[in-house]
Subunit: 402 residues, 2 copies
């Protein structure tokens, strides 16, 4: 299906779509023979939606591929996750609201610790305190100039994570990362992978040296690992691409950043799930597409906390009636990827999804769970097609061809 | 899968494939909690085929995409529906058996009514009588010459619909339609969307003016809306592409036209379902692929007549034994798209399909219906792959690779 077929078919109307994303929703049993987190959770409201709607399983990138949060979210938003894959640096910049300019070069940076032999002893500088990170970024910002580029920016993210941006140069992403990916090794020298990247490799190498010089004397954070390289890139926005007026309701910077990259208005100042539902209610009249992001399912999965992930799902289930009370024309509940607590990390398992709308043909699925969804009417489809199905049920797509 | 892989594997034999298409077969329940048209219909013969064969669900174009009849039929015939999508003008020309020539430019035209202020008051000229359409097309044919092109042809289709063809010029489809798509608006001036289309836009603009001049004095049909632009296009035929000797058994011009475009022999003079079955019996020895098209399922769906659509399905079911008596090696029963009576139009819902052949692995499906097919052995596949599966069961495909 050509990427712009949906765009050609858009017809705007007032119908409203709510896309509720429980990050890392998919899971696995704690023990062989057991139930997954979602299957274990008591979810009468989600089960009712599953029974009246259509269920299925989504592959974020493809069978066997474990996605990062970036590609998974691009797929949820109807963008091909491979074509639109970008370096983490750009996602960080978007999440921090950094005022990007065409030509900028973005890096995700970790403060890290070099021992007296010049070997990495801690890749996260002891999970540096965020305020210390801010002090150091300020010092780096004041001290470092690179003769070969116009400007260098240092911005604190959280704990040991920072954003570094180079501006004014002909940059290429085709250089090696300076992160050796394990302790006991020295920093890797940035190296050009193609001749056009020589300039960037030299600039990043010089930058790395100056960071070490500037941080000399620091015990913990005396160097930076530079990675997640990304050039500036303009994304076709959801308003132009899908005719939507979308609002992102998320608490975490990265998800707000991705939403901003695809042209969503981003609600600010939210931190709890209850905040998010309140924002949905408050803004419901002003938009026609709502991306509501629940982070805690993924966090508990990453922590390996099966029972806590179950509790988060149950907490979300209790709030479903408040969403249904708004009477969205299409309500989709899914995850961006699976994060089984038993794996303590993202996984490649397909993600359960339910879509409730009056134009659904209800399938035989009566509870919302990974295995129940196997029998669902949505089938098992690439995640990037989900948005088109939601648009169809909202009456926002014309017929293709005569 | 590369588009010509099937062509590379073709091995001819005498085995016969019958593809029975109930147009708009897929449906939805009349009321929440109910059954679809197909699920409601009493279909003992189709159920028996479903039980002995393999069932599944087909996506004509892609998840969420509602197809027109053209793309849906191209997919049924094993052609990528996006790659082979063509303007309605060409489908009309094919349906009328218009003697096309390379370079021709085809338009679907509606006779319409302009009020005294020059605004469209009826986009269908009161569903003009077909004989009046013929009289007017004759007058237009005699009166109108365009200095910039060699020839103009006017051909009656039915009621308010006509075909207009320009010949002898360097035409482009990249111009705007003159149809404002709603009443109370003036005709739209044809406008080039790319510089190469300036010639076409000027010719179509001049044509539109001359039509209005020629029809001045007519009360109902005093202008034409010009749309569905299509250049001449040669299709790789099913004989070359799939090694088949195919016969189309259809009553409606458009379906005969599409079948003709892909190189089928087209049976003439059929109007009822019984006619069609009789034609299948009469011609059974001469061909090895039979496309049998039932229009009434779609028509009743478009009319919003749930019970009448059920009756058509039951009428077709009663004729299934006559088809089975011919002992086709492969019998496929499906639709081209869904036309739920509850939506009174085409929809994006996947289409139930059954394939019966001795080489089938029967699945657990024992009745032919949308939800039963969810569990079918064909799975949920793009419609364009169906023909390849039918060819395989007919022993018409060699092994791929060593």
């Amino acid at each position: 299906m050509p990427k712009n077929i949906i765009t050609q078919l858009i017809q705007k109307n007032d119908k409203k779509i709510v896309l509720l994303v429980m990050d890392g929703l998919g899971g696995l049993p704690k023990k062989p023979g057991g139930l997954t987190e979602l299957e274990t959770a008591y979810t009468p409201n989600l089960d009712r939606l599953a029974a009246s709607g259509t269920c299925g399983l989504l592959d974020p990138v493809g069978p066997g591929i474990t996605p990062g949060s970036g590609p998974a979210h691009f797929a949820l938003f109807g963008y091909d996750p491979v074509e639109y894959n970008v370096g983490r640096g750009l996602l960080s910049a978007a999440g921090l609201g950094f005022p990007m300019q065409p030509g900028d070069f973005f890096m995700r940076a970790n403060f890290a610790t070099l021992d007296k032999n010049g070997l990495i002893s801690d890749r996260r500088a002891g999970r540096l305190a965020t305020d210390k990170n801010e002090t150091l970024c300020k010092r780096l910002q004041e001290s470092i100039k690179l003769p070969s580029v116009e400007k260098v920016f240092f911005r604190t993210e959280k704990e040991h994570r920072a954003l570094v941006v180079l501006r004014g140069g002909k940059f290429s992403e085709q250089i090696t990362e300076t992160d050796p990916q394990q302790t006991g090794k020295p920093l890797v020298r940035a190296r050009a992978l193609v001749p056009e990247a020589d300039f960037t490799a030299a600039a990043v190498g010089e930058l790395s040296d100056k960071i070490i010089k500037t941080l000399a004397g620091e015990q913990q954070a005396n160097c930076m690992l530079l990675r997640g390289y990304a050039g500036y890139r303009l994304f076709p926005g959801m308003p132009e691409r899908f005719g939507l007026n979308p609002l992102a309701i998320a608490a975490y910077p990265m998800y707000k950043g991705i939403a901003g990259l695809v042209g969503m208005t981003v609600a600010e100042g939210l931190s709890t799930i209850e905040d998010e539902i309140a924002a949905l209610q408050a803004k419901y009249k002003e938009y026609d597409f709502f991306y509501v992001h629940i982070k805690a399912t993924d966090s508990r999965g990453e922590d390996g906390k099966f029972d806590d992930k179950v509790k988060v799902i149950e907490q979300v289930d209790k709030l479903i009636p408040e969403i249904c009370a708004l009477k969205p024309d299409v309500l989709v509940v899914t995850g961006d990827h699976s994060t089984p607590a038993s794996l303590s990390g993202h996984s490649w398992h397909p993600v359960p999804a339910l879509l409730a709308a009056p134009t659904c043909l209800p399938d035989l699925v009566t509870s919302f769970g990974e295995r129940a969804c196997l029998a669902g009417g949505l089938g098992r489809i690439p995640m990037k097609f989900l948005l088109g199905v939601a648009l169809a049920h909202a009456g926002k797509l014309q017929k293709f061809g005569a």
